[in-house]
Amino acid sequence: MRFDNYELDNFYDELFQSADQPRPAGAALVDRIHQLGPGELLQRQQAAQQALFKLGATFGVYGDNQGSDRIFPFDVIPRIISAQEWRHLETGLKQRIHALNLFIDDIYHDQKIIKDGKIPAELILSATGFQKPCMGLNPPEGVWCHITGSDLVRDRNGQWYVLEDNLRCPSGVSYVLENRRVMKSTFPQVFEEIPIQPVDGYPSQLLNTLLHLVPENIAHPTVVVLTPGIYNSAYFEHSYLAQQMGVELVEGRDLVVADGHLQMRTTQGLQRVDVIYRRIDDTFIDPLEFQADSLLGVPGLMQVYREGRVAIANALGTGIADDKVIYAFVPNMIRYYLGEDPILANVPTYLCWEPKQLDHVLGNLDQLVVKSADESGGYGMLVGTQSTQAEREEFAQKIKANPRKYIAQPTLCLSRVPTILEQEFVGCHVDLRPYILYGQDIYVHPGGLTRVALKKGSLVVNSSQGGGSKDTWVLCE
C-alpha cells in the first residue's frame, strides 16, 4: 500500500504536511511503509488485531449482551508527536493539573475562589460531582487528583486545545501499553530507525504514585485496585494494571471495615489495606454516606478515609473538576491560583446556564456540539452538524428544562491521521488522551491514547461509540 492517492481534504494531517510531503517526524515511517511488499501492511494489521484478541485486550459495552467483551479496534499507522511539540503539551498539562488540584482543595476547604467572585457558588453547589461528605478532607500533601487523563484535540490550524479533563477514573492506559507491544512486533525496524520514547514505565510510575500516599510508618503497605467487577467496561484495564503493578485486584465484596481499618478477606483471615486505587465512582464507594443502595462499595469506608487510615486515589470529591461546566473555568483557575497565563487553551465553551449564551446555543444547534455536563463516553451528546431536525428539537427541550446540565462547543475540525479503512488510507479524525500522575511530582506519561473515529467523516472517537485506537509515538529529543 502506498500513500500516492491519500487526500488531505483541507484538514490538519498529523503525518503529512502536504499531499506528497510527510512531516519530518513521519518521513522514516512513510518510507518504511512504501518499502513493504504488496499486501504486507494489511497482513500486519490483521496480525496485530489477532494478537490483541488473543491477549484478550478487550472492553465491555454497556447494554450489549453478545458476550461481555469485545476487542478495541486498532490501526497500525501510528500518530507521531515531535519532541518539541510534546514539551509544550507536557508543560501545559503540568500547569493545568497543578491548578486543578489547588482548586479542588480550595473547594473542599475555604472556597476562596468563590468568595473572590471567580466562580459562581451556584455552579459548584449544583454540580453532581460536588460531594458534601468531602468538606474539610485533607488528603496526603493536599493532592486530590493523582491520575488524570485529559483529552486534547487539534483544529484545522494544528492548534492544540484541551477538550475535557477526566479526573475521576480515566480509562485507556492499558491500551497504550498493549498497543505499543503489538506495534513493536509489527514494525521492529522502524523502532530501530526512529528514536521513540518508551511507554513501559507507566506501571512503575503509577505504583510509585500510589505508594507515595502511604503514611511513612507503614513498612509493608498493601496497595489494591478496586474494581466494580468483571462486567465493568474497563475491567480488562483494572485487571491489567493490578497485574502489572503486582498488587491485589479487589471488589467491594472483598473488603470490610473492621477494627477501624479497611481490611480484605483472605484465605488467612482479614488483612489491612493501606491504599486504594479506586476505579469506581465516588457515589458508589460507601453506601453509608453516598448512594445507599450501592452494593459496590464498602460500608464505613468514608469514616476510615476521613481518619486518614486509608488513602484513596483519586481522592473522593475530584469529580467536581470533572464537570464540563466547571471545565470552562479552568483558564481562570490557572490565573487565579498560579498567577500564570494558561499554556494550553480550552475549546471555546458556551454555558447554557447563562441566559445570553443559552440563546446563542439554541439558535445555533446545527453548528454546535452539545454535551451533558456530567456524562462521559460519548453518551448524552449532540453533534449539531450531523443531527436531524428532530434530534435538535429534542435537545433544545432538554437544555431548556435543565440549562445547568449542558454546555456547547463549536464543532472543531479535528486533525486527522491516515488510517486503513477497507484496504485504503483514509484520513480519520483523532484525539489524544495523555495520562498525568501526581505523586511527589507531576509526571506526564510520554504518549497517551490516540483514539480514532473509524468511520469516514465521523468526529466521535469514543470506544463505546465504535472508535478505535492507534499507537502514539513521542519522539526523543
Binding site: 484478550g56 478477606r265 482479614l270 452494593l295 460500608p299
Partner: protein, 346 residues
C-alpha cells in the same frame, strides 16, 4: 490471598479438569460402542447416570440416544457440566483472576475457549473424536503452562487442590461407567468383549500403557484394572494419587505438617487418603465396586464442602446482604447476578 480469588482459581482448575474428563467419558463410550457387535443394543444411558444429572437430562432430552447424550455432554449451553459450559465458566473464573495467574495461563484458557465456542457452532459429528482430543489437549496444555509459569504459591496450591479433587472424582466415575455398561450381562464376564471393555476404560483414563507396564499386572483383569485406577500410588489419575496430591497442597496452604491435623478439613481429607493407602482391591470387590465408588464420591463431596467452608465462605463480619455486584450506572443495567465459582455436585 483473597478468598474470592482462591475460590476462582480452585474452580478454574476444576472446570478445566471436568471438561477434560467429560471428553474422556465420551471417548470411552464411543470406543466401546464401535467394538460392540451389531445386534447388541448401544448403551448411552449409563453416561447420563454417572453424571448424577439424570433429572436434567430427562427433562431436556428424554431418550438417551447417542446424539442426545453427545449434545448434552458437549455443547449444551444450559447444562452447567457440558464441555462448553465448563470452558465458559473456566474462562469467566480466569478473567476474574487474570492479575494473579500468568498471562500464558490466560492465553491458554482464552484460546481453548475460542476453540470450544467455534466447535459448538460448526462441528460435524464426524469430527467429534478430533474435538474430544483437542479438549483433552487444551487441558493438558493449561496444566503444563501452569506448572511452567506459576510460582508455587498459594494460588498454585489452590489450583492443584481443585484439579486433583476433580480428577479423583472423575476417575471414580469413569470406573463406574464400566459397572453400568458391561456388568448387566453377567454372561459376558471373562469374554473377549469384556476384556475390550476394560481396555477401553484404561485408555479413556490414559492408563493403558502405564497399566501394562506396572509391576505384576500385565494381564487385563477386572480386579487389576479397578485396583490400578483406585489404589495405584504412582499413576497420576488414580484416586489414591490424586488425594495424596490434594492433601499435600492443603497442608502447604495451612502450614500444618503432613501427618497431623488442626482443622476439620485436614482431618477429613487425611483420613480419606490414608484409607485408600491401606485398602486392598479384594476388600473393595467384596463390598461391591459400585457401592464403594458411591461412598467414595460422597466422601469427596464432603471434602469439597470443607474446603469451601474453611477458605472461601465469607467471614461472618458481613452485615449487609450483598449477594450480587452491581454495575456503575453509566448505561443500561445488566445482568450481574451470575456467580462463577459455585460448587456443584456432579
Amino acid at each position: 490471598m483473597l478468598s474470592r480469588v482462591a475460590n476462582s482459581i480452585y474452580w478454574l482448575n476444576r472446570y478445566i479438569e471436568r471438561a477434560e474428563n467429560v471428553a474422556r467419558f465420551l471417548e470411552v463410550n464411543i470406543n466401546l460402542m464401535l467394538d460392540i457387535p451389531t445386534g447388541i443394543e448401544q448403551q448411552w444411558q449409563p453416561l447420563v447416570t454417572t453424571t448424577g444429572d439424570r433429572a436434567f437430562f430427562e427433562q431436556h432430552y428424554g431418550e438417551a440416544t447417542a446424539e442426545n447424550v453427545i449434545q448434552f455432554l458437549t455443547f449444551d449451553q444450559q447444562y452447567p457440566n457440558s464441555i462448553f459450559s465448563c470452558w465458559q465458566m473456566a474462562r469467566e473464573n480466569a478473567r476474574s483472576v487474570r492479575e494473579i495467574i500468568s498471562s500464558e495461563m490466560w492465553s491458554e484458557v482464552n484460546a481453548a475457549h475460542q476453540m470450544v465456542s467455534k466447535a459448538s457452532k460448526d462441528l460435524s459429528i464426524s469430527d467429534l473424536s478430533d474435538f474430544l482430543e483437542q479438549v483433552k489437549q487444551a487441558s493438558h496444555s493449561f496444566v503444563g503452562t501452569t506448572d511452567a509459569t506459576l510460582s508455587r504459591n498459594e494460588a498454585w496450591h489452590f489450583g492443584r487442590m481443585g484439579r486433583f479433587l476433580e480428577r479423583a472424582d472423575k476417575t471414580s466415575r469413569i470406573l463406574d461407567v464400566k459397572y453400568y455398561v458391561l456388568l448387566p450381562s453377567a454372561t459376558d464376564v471373562g469374554t473377549l468383549l469384556d476384556e475390550l471393555g476394560w481396555m477401553a476404560l484404561l485408555k479413556s483414563a490414559s492408563a493403558y500403557e502405564m497399566y501394562r507396564q506396572s509391576s505384576q499386572q500385565h494381564r487385563i483383569t477386572p480386579a487389576g484394572v479397578s485396583g490400578f485406577l483406585i489404589l495405584d500410588p504412582e499413576f497420576p489419575r488414580s484416586v489414591q494419587f490424586c488425594l495424596w496430591q490434594a492433601e499435600q497442597s492443603l497442608h502447604r496452604i495451612t502450614g500444618t505438617p503432613l501427618g497431623s491435623w488442626h482443622i476439620p478439613i485436614e482431618r477429613s481429607l487425611g483420613r480419606l487418603r490414608s484409607e485408600m493407602e491401606y485398602l486392598m482391591i479384594d476388600e473393595i470387590i467384596d463390598r461391591g465396586i459400585h457401592e464403594f465408588l458411591d461412598q467414595l464420591q460422597q466422601s469427596m463431596n464432603e471434602v469439597n464442602n470443607g474446603i469451601y467452608e474453611t477458605f472461601f465462605a465469607l467471614p461472618p463480619l458481613e452485615t449487609t446482604a450483598a449477594p450480587q455486584s452491581q454495575s456503575q450506572s453509566q448505561g443500561q443495567g445488566q445482568n450481574q447476578s451470575q456467580t462463577f465459582a459455585t460448587p456443584q455436585s456432579y
